[in-house]
Symmetry: C2
Subunit: 338 residues, 2 copies
């Protein structure tokens, strides 16, 4: 997708969101009713197939071309000692992605997904948001554009993932800014901080919220001030996918938090997104409830990288396999209900 | 596996159950700790990979050869009008499996699994268990043997599924016989009975339990008197898999109920089994809790045929892909915890 020249343009795009195709949805629903199984017996596999049909505008949807985008960023907030790993690990993991050694590489291979890893100025961390906006407007726009322009608009499905030491704290700050509640509700152990680390995280969140109090009623400002480059890129990519009617699989806490500003700004903006899984990072369940998403998987994963979404892509493939390949009652000569 | 000549031989086999290999388990656990991710961050994918390793006695397990066994049977209890579909549908669906038109065909293809469908004397339904034992000893033994001999002992993993009009009522009667509680706790809508159908199911369960009260303290007798041919075959197949140390993915309510007699007879007999999913048939959740199994998926499926287990096989594949393919911290030059 094209590059935006201002955040105002992003807001404009948010006002014209393509909707799923109702006619195709009805055709796909009708097809489901004819297949050789009791109605509803494939549960979410049925609704997922219909949902994919409607967004792809294909009675028989496909997942031949799945794009996984992993955005990486570094965060000034790591100065507050809120991660179990040093910030260098972000760049080291990007290298690991490029050499094919990370979890997301194996899971993408299994799901037949293409993996694009986009490192966002790793040597220029965002500012520590307890005392400044994480990004200025130009940096924020660059982050959004990194996502908007990375989406392959010919893909059948998009997976969004991230890597960034410290970014569970960023996601927590974003959610606390956007949704309020108690700071403690939004934090968890991330990659493995101890009890003191948890306390520091809560403290950081409170100071950050206090500092940015005036911006909290503007969702995109919350993303700019309390977010990070990779989170901005995810928001941009998810908007680009919507513009191209590409269904999206969200990953864990960070990728879900990153797109919440879109939903708060324009309710329904995430209708083309499914939650791939529920992470064991406690804020994730809370934020999924805020945006009314029921995750496909619940496997205690909390890695990021798009890993949970990549496993969820296999469930979408199962949905499509049944929807496209099964015989109808008439074709198979099977009797309907007595 | 070989054919048994008596039910006593089955009991003998149950006394000598191979255990997972502890040494391989330790090696697999060690490997998980070296991989480029925070410890535990792949959640159940980690424990699944280690579990597969220990049973397969391979530090790097594989799922190249997955066997799906679908057993089909007919049930005298359908005379009590407890199913939404006529009994003819069992044979029609077997034909559908053979022509590749059912859900399980598509899901096996996706998972790279071989599908073997075994119809068990469909023209000779079991007896109506409200007034007789479902099977005599010879019929029960034949059912167990059908399962025991069907298992490919060179497979990396076994999926067990079933087809049989009326068999959610059979599974409910089996669970009510084995575990007690209220009859109403074990019943659900199956393929779609109405409220009157639900009442008839509960009534049938009460009469069946009353009639077979004397046999309820003997788990295999419960399976013979309140089960069905396809349920006996599943129990036989799962025992054969245990003897060959093949990990098993259980499907829904019926396949889970079928193997409960093994666990009640010998606690730990199902340690080589994982619950593929939680069916929306209400008895399934209840019975999973009885045998202490936490299902991998929860997608509101309730089709049977092995369909939920086949989707779960994809999750096991994801576990193995990460376990076998990821780089270690040393290989990737990534720093460990700070």
């Amino acid at each position: 997708m094209y590059k935006l020249s201002s955040i105002k343009e992003f807001r404009e795009l948010m006002r014209f969101l393509p909707e799923p195709d109702v006619e195709t949805e009805i055709l796909a629903q009708y097809r489901q009713e004819q297949l050789t199984k009791p109605p509803g017996s494939l549960g979410r596999l049925e609704s997922l197939a219909i949902w994919l049909s409607a967004w792809q505008v294909r009675e028989r949807p496909r997942l031949d071309k799945v794009q996984t985008l992993v955005f990486a960023g570094n965060h000034g907030i790591t100065a507050q000692n809120i991660s179990a790993y040093p910030a260098d690990v972000t760049a080291q993991m990007v290298e690991n992605f490029e050499h094919g050694g990370a979890a997301i590489n194996q899971l993408c291979k299994l799901a037949g997904a293409d993996l694009d890893v986009i490192a966002l100025e790793l040597d220029r961390p965002t500012r520590d948001f307890t005392s400044a906006a994480a990004m200025d407007e130009a940096e924020f726009l660059a982050g959004l554009n990194a996502g908007l322009t990375a989406v392959d608009t010919t893909a059948d499905c998009l997976i969004v993932g991230e890597m960034g030491i410290g970014n569970t704290t960023v996601a927590a700050a974003l959610c606390y800014g956007l949704f309020g509640g108690e700071a403690e509700d939004w934090i968890g152990r991330g990659t493995g901080v101890d009890d003191d680390g948890l306390k520091r995280k809560a403290e950081v969140l409170k100071r950050a919220r206090e500092f940015h109090l005036k911006t909290l009623d503007c969702p995109l400002e919350v993303l700019r001030c309390l977010g990070g480059r990779e989170l901005a890129a995810i928001a941009g990519a998810v908007l680009a996918a919507r513009q191209a009617r590409i269904p999206v699989i969200l990953d864990g806490f960070i990728s879900t938090a990153a797109v919440c500003p879109l939903e708060v700004l324009t309710p329904g903006a995430l209708d083309h997104c499914v939650a791939g899984h529920r992470s064991s990072e406690p804020g994730h369940d809370r934020v999924l409830k805020r945006i009314n998403k029921n995750p496909l998987l619940d496997l205690n994963m909390h890695l990021g990288e798009g890993s949970g979404a990549a496993v969820a892509a296999l469930v979408l493939k199962a949905a499509i396999a049944a929807h496209n390949g099964m015989a109808t009652f008439a074709e198979a000569g099977v009797s309907g209900k007595a």
